[in-house]
């Protein structure tokens, strides 16, 4: 699995990039794990609800898009140590992944995407016969 820099649809094709009005986009941090059966991708997307996340598998690419509305309380900000924004990240997957069986789950700001491997590429145990 490798990562790909890509241009979001809003910006591609435009000669002069129009910047969205203070809409920040972050690359979410991810952990990726693999075992015999699947790849598991975990991404930190705090502030994103299940309805605001879009996980898409298309042309061998897995795209994660999360929308996160700005949050503010009270009337006066006193200190800001982090910023709130959307999330976007694209991964290129090998053709070993069975795209139809990908599942995703969002719990407490962590997105878990399970990418099962195709049966054909799973390791087969060969029985060894003794004499």
């Amino acid at each position: 699995m490798s990562e790909k820099q890509s241009v979001p649809p809003a910006q591609s094709g435009a000669l002069v990039p129009v910047r969205p009005a203070v809409r920040l986009v972050f690359t979410p941090r991810v952990d990726i794990l693999h075992n015999e059966n699947e790849l598991v991708l975990l991404a930190d997307v705090p502030g994103v609800g299940p309805d605001d996340i879009d996980v898409r598998f298309e042309n061998g690419e897995l795209t994660i898009d999360g929308k996160c509305a700005p949050r503010a309380f009270g009337t006066r900000p006193l200190g800001e140590e982090y910023e709130v924004g959307d999330y976007h990240r694209v991964f290129t997957l090998s053709n070993h992944i069975d795209g139809d069986r990908i599942t995703a789950q969002l719990t407490q700001g962590v997105l878990t995407v399970r990418l099962p491997k195709r049966e054909a590429v799973k390791p087969k145990r060969v029985p060894v016969q003794g004499a």
Partner: protein
């Protein structure tokens, strides 16, 4: 949560490219300059106020609520403590690990005293939001101006 700001590399103008290069060198400390750290403490917090309350927010994705301790002592010392643990049921080989785990503890000194008994804490979507009512002594008081 510490985040990497997403900056599309080639979709911007040339002056932006220049800035991106500078940022790249800075980030990897190639010019020896210290890396820009927005907040050296974890978790980073945002703070707001109005006349009645202080509001504190921190991004803590993946922290189980039972592993999170929020305390207010001496009126204005806010402590956020917790333990961020990797999901236990995962087995296999790691290909990439960018997310951090472990115990954290942070003391935030609030600008005014708050009423520790009435603090409200909500933890939703990995974001901790605190509403801390100002202590009676710290509330702004309107002084009636008398005209003669």
């Amino acid at each position: 949560m510490t985040m990497t700001r997403w900056t599309p590399f080639f979709s911007q103008t040339l002056s932006d490219f220049d800035r991106a290069m500078k940022q790249l060198f800075q980030e990897f400390r190639l010019n020896g300059a210290p890396r820009r750290v927005l907040s050296p403490s974890f978790p980073p917090v945002n703070l707001w106020e109005d006349d009645d309350n202080l509001y504190v927010e921190a991004e803590l994705p993946g922290v189980a609520p039972e592993n999170l301790v929020v305390q207010v002592t001496e009126g204005n010392q806010l402590t956020l403590e917790g333990d961020r643990q990797q999901a236990a049921q995962l087995e296999g080989t790691w290909l990439r690990q960018e997310r951090g785990f472990g115990k954290f503890s942070r003391l935030v000194e609030l600008p005014v005293a708050v009423d520790a008994d009435k603090v409200e804490a909500r933890f939703d979507r990995g974001v901790l939001a605190l509403k801390l009512p100002r202590a009676a002594s710290a509330k702004p008081r309107r002084i009636a101006v008398q005209a003669e």
